[in-house]
Point group: C2
């Protein structure tokens, strides 16, 4: 499916400028550089960056792109860490900061209609003003956009209780590679008319169409929440506590696990105080009616102590809870400061297999002499091994490759998946045939051809 | 896409019998007749009925079917009311009563792995033994199968709080038209590897593949529930109470509305006692922790009274609650007894538009001189107008057609959908172009061609 995009002629550039306005087609070197990488590091210089303001403009752009066989890569904030939003084979990056309007918050139907460029946290804030919750909360939520979240089916810590982006997606408008407009779903919680193209588009990484309007479901904002922090001397104890909580019937809002590597880093970064002997930390949140939250908080506290926690602290104020989360959020940045690069993995396993999987990762670090920290959305089995490295160290990179092969083999052997929430992009493309048989991959390729016969939408991503 | 299936030669029949065993290929007239109709009435006589026992047998059957261009229509219990499981263009019906095993209930990962022929209520019962809940509860749950539920993306009264089949579907194994086996999803709550074929298959009405194994998510069984029944003198008051409850932030488990036509029928049928002046009844359930349920029950009671209910009764025991539900379930049968036939519609609108939509239906009954009762999963806007008729009455059927045109036009104009949970099948095929533009339909047709290039899987359904 590889193809080289033609260099953009000045007449095509003029055509694009006529569509979006002179200043909204960028081709200065510094602009191109800005859009040449995303959260995944390899750089691909695009031939241009186009910033449309309307669905109509996007249709026109796609008609030109199709006629001229120009690759178009839709891109939200570029926070994905799978290389999903770079121009792998050249072409034009399409950015959405001019389409960043919350069109409607509907308190009766409890849904929101937004443009793709709306930042996740802005939607959450606006919904909260109406007593409503938009649950998906990727770590990138203060910058990442709803369009990008839908394209990558973003998850987040609240996934344990609330699920991921797809679980709140009700309807979409998208522009196809042909320039035609696709409309699928709507505001209805129940809708079984025709194939579920809404869900098919979700997580398709910009390869099937350009999302131009999104309708999401909102929930009533839970009135109370409790934030707990449990420290363990033993990583296995912490992992087993996770499985025990899940199996007890309590559905926590979040259940995060941080291992010693991560804790040391956060401590040195001044992010928070933990016992220097701590081998693991669980960060647990429950939400709902206040008395229920109180009771569940107590049960979880008891659980942690029974399973070997050396201390359990409960935030006594929203500020204290925020401090705890701040420490958690600090982790990525702090880890990234240790070595020149940090590879964030995303293998996910059924929660029952979590203790084994964590053991495996610790073993891989030792076997391949790597520095790996474990940060996990443990409650749903979504692990983030953070591999600290230097992309220029060829020998170490070779060891990382071998460790990843083994990691994914193990995860898939446990009934896991290559990616829980980060996407495949180019980062894990080579592993797809480990997870899917050829017939299944051929169906995926066929679907891509139906939507985009010329392979101009984000070519090179995952297929 | 119309095509005539060839009559089955005796050598093909022999081939099928060699695959499944002599007695599991049926072609006696009485067998064919049994499988010639489903919940939607028109009859289509199949050429044979095949009952496989394994995925391997299904692969072999499909290789023969593909080679010989024989239509295959997978069919669960045939309770769908859209004509989704009949052999519209002849061919073979595939039945699943030999594949009815609950393979596993996993209490740690809270999921179940089942064969397609497992009856919904059996899975619910088995899950409950482990303290777990399988939420989707179509009215047909005592006979309909999980395979059929997935193929139709079945809903049910609990949809208001718990969503529908798709929301619990984690993974599938399916046999493609080619005989190849597709595996998609798994046990992971978070999974973004490749296109979401799991969700695409859900609700595809047996047109993309034959589902052979299903993994579903289970939830902790809620410890308590309350069942309330509120009687209104005014249908509009009842409808407005629905919107008010939803907007209050309470998420009821079920919120059903029955209008006077239905109530009269149930009463005459001896199903329950309601005031003869009752114009509408709301049947409301909440579940969860017992004190929360208690509080929500009280709030809902207060709400109903404020909005004009003349009485609100609360079931004081599980038996009393069951009696209330019995009355609700009686409705279909009772209505069906009034006239020779009953057309169950399924238009769905955003819940805010429910009062208007109910008014519209009452208006249509008057305008077209029809007897229409309204039974609605009101909490999620999923309406079931029951049109009592006689399929042989040409004049009345003509008026029904015109009423339906107007009904769907109105629903779609409100941002609604043709079908909330019943499916499109052949029943609403002619309305698809009202809901979807030609580009969107063309994408759906393209997807069908990718999965089933010879159009042998349930041809004639919805596309």
């Amino acid at each position: 499916m590889r193809k080289e995009a033609p260099v953009l002629s000045s007449s095509i550039v003029n055509e694009f400028r006529t569509i979006v306005g002179r200043e909204w087609f960028l081709d200065e070197p510094e602009d191109l550089a800005t859009y040449s990488y995303d959260g995944f590091l390899p750089e691909f210089m695009p031939d241009g960056v186009i910033v449309p303001a309307t669905t109509g403009e996007i249709s026109k752009i796609m008609r030109v792109a199709k006629r001229e066989r120009i690759n178009v890569v839709p891109r939200g904030a570029g926070t994905n860490i799978c290389g999903g939003s770079t121009a792998k084979y050249g072409g034009v990056i399409m950015a959405f900061h001019r389409m960043d309007r919350i069109i409607e918050i509907d308190t009766a139907d409890m849904c929101a209609v937004v443009q793709p460029g709306v930042v996740n946290a802005d939607l959450q804030k606006e919904a909260a003003k109406h007593g409503l919750l938009y649950p998906p909360d990727p770590a990138s939520m203060f910058v990442s956009t709803i369009g990008g979240n839908v394209a990558l089916n973003a998850g987040g810590p609240r996934g344990v209780k609330y699920g991921v982006t797809k679980d709140y997606l009700l309807g979409l408008e998208a522009v196809l590679a042909s320039g035609d407009v696709l409309r699928t779903g709507g505001r209805n919680l129940k809708d079984v008319s025709g194939y579920n193209l809404t869900q098919l588009m979700c997580g398709s990484e910009g390869t099937l169409g350009i999302i131009t309007e999104i309708t999401v479901r909102l929930l009533p904002l839970p009135p109370a929440k409790a934030t707990l922090q449990a420290v363990f001397f033993d990583l296995g104890d912490a992992a087993r506590t996770v499985s025990a909580i899940i199996e007890s019937g309590i559905v926590p809002t979040t259940l995060e696990l941080l291992d010693r590597v991560i804790l040391d880093v956060i401590r040195n970064y001044g992010g928070a105080e933990f016992s220097t002997e701590a081998e693991a930390l669980l960060l647990i949140e429950v939400d709902g009616e206040s008395d229920l939250v109180e009771r569940q908080g107590q049960r979880i506290e008891k659980f942690c102590m029974e399973k070997g926690a050396i201390e359990v602290n409960r935030a006594t104020s929203p500020e204290e809870a925020e401090k705890v989360w701040q420490a958690r959020r600090t982790a990525f940045g702090a880890v990234a400061s240790l070595r020149p690069n940090c590879i964030v993995e995303d293998a996910t396993v059924p929660v029952r297999r979590l203790p084994e999987m964590i053991e495996k990762i610790v073993g891989l670090a030792e076997k391949y002499r790597l520095k790996i920290g474990v940060l996990a959305h443990a409650g749903d089995g979504n692990l983030h091994p953070l591999i600290m490295t230097d992309l220029h160290d060829k020998d170490e990179m070779g060891r990382i490759d071998r460790a990843l092969d083994e990691l994914f083999e193990t995860a898939l052997g446990m009934g896991g998946t290559l990616s829980g929430e980060h996407g495949i992009g180019i980062a894990k493309k080579r592993f797809m045939s480990m997870q899917f048989n050829e017939s299944t991959l051929e169906i995926m390729r066929g679907i891509k051809r139906v939507f985009d016969p010329d392979n101009i939408l984000n070519p090179g991503s995952f297929l």
